[in-house]
Symmetry: C2
Subunit: 212 residues, 2 copies
Amino acid sequence: MKIQLALDRLSIEEAIEMGKKTQACVDILEVGTSLIKDYGLESLSRIRAAFPHKVILADLKTMDEGEYEFRAAFTHGADLATVMGAASIDTVKICYRVAEEYGRSVMIDLLETPKEKLEFLTCFPKAVFCLHTPKDSGIRELSQELKEFVHRYPQMRRLAVAGGIRLDDVPSLSAFPVEILVVGSAISQERDPEAAARRFWAAVGNEGVRHV
Amino acid sequence: MKIQLALDRLSIEEAIEMGKKTQACVDILEVGTSLIKDYGLESLSRIRAAFPHKVILADLKTMDEGEYEFRAAFTHGADLATVMGAASIDTVKICYRVAEEYGRSVMIDLLETPKEKLEFLTCFPKAVFCLHTPKDSGIRELSQELKEFVHRYPQMRRLAVAGGIRLDDVPSLSAFPVEILVVGSAISQERDPEAAARRFWAAVGNEGVRHV
């Protein structure tokens, strides 16, 4: 299971500092929606420049204008970008096509995606599907949701989970074939983010830390 | 019917110039999603500073983190901001509450909003509901959609329409109680945006142009 650290509600400088502190125990740095909406694509290109060898995801949460948004993200250095599963299927198709063209990846954020749309989304085999509990609602039934999802959509093989993930969620999530664990405040809001990242890193089964 | 000009896929300077050219025939300036994602909130504050007396909408297309995004938009000068109808009802509620707190308005973008969510959205009486044809799909059946919508949801009184609106759409749209007509490229991509804005201004029944 890879660790993706969501950089949100920080200045670009703070985000870079957070990335530097934690990068030994983080696989993917996420330029969060708040960074993109607060500072624009500059947040992405500056984080790309600060971490030339890191996998970087742009959390665009695209709802429309897929071609414009995805090209912008990839030309500014993203390796992955997010489109909403709740967007039109045409929008998801366009994002997927642009990602293929650039040799990059799409993460489809399943936040509030209606069931009937999920059926169509099975036709994007290379996409990463992110089961996402919204910050704005308090409900946390991730394990159960994941269980049902894996059973119902075995063809969606690349899975991520996001939304208020805490360290003590890791054991129950480890029972599922989750490729990416998206962690935000449980690392970035801790007094010692480096130590918090190291705990997640160990919890998902890594030994030691990486040389970066 | 008010005219809202969507400023998209422009630099901030170009957007300000476009606003200056067209403002006599435009009621609301929209800081488009592309401007916000390309340049961040600076796009909003600079357009606010350039047009201190104009109504300004921030097309945030909020899907989550309603409180953070709406506070940011209002503190940077927006009079209205958009949340997706496809977001969780909790997110829409939060955006509505923050707007009430600031004495500003919410536009709920109905792009890809499932029918079952529309039922819940009737509980936000002061919101503007935007029927929105996605750019990424080619289908245009706006009049029919509007007819059904007005019949089905009479309690949603404040209506906007968006998505590739052209001048020759105006007569058919005028048959409905549409408060805001969102126009993008049919003004901004014209060789003479000022003249294009003036044609829309006249088409919705205004006489002369305003002194700004």
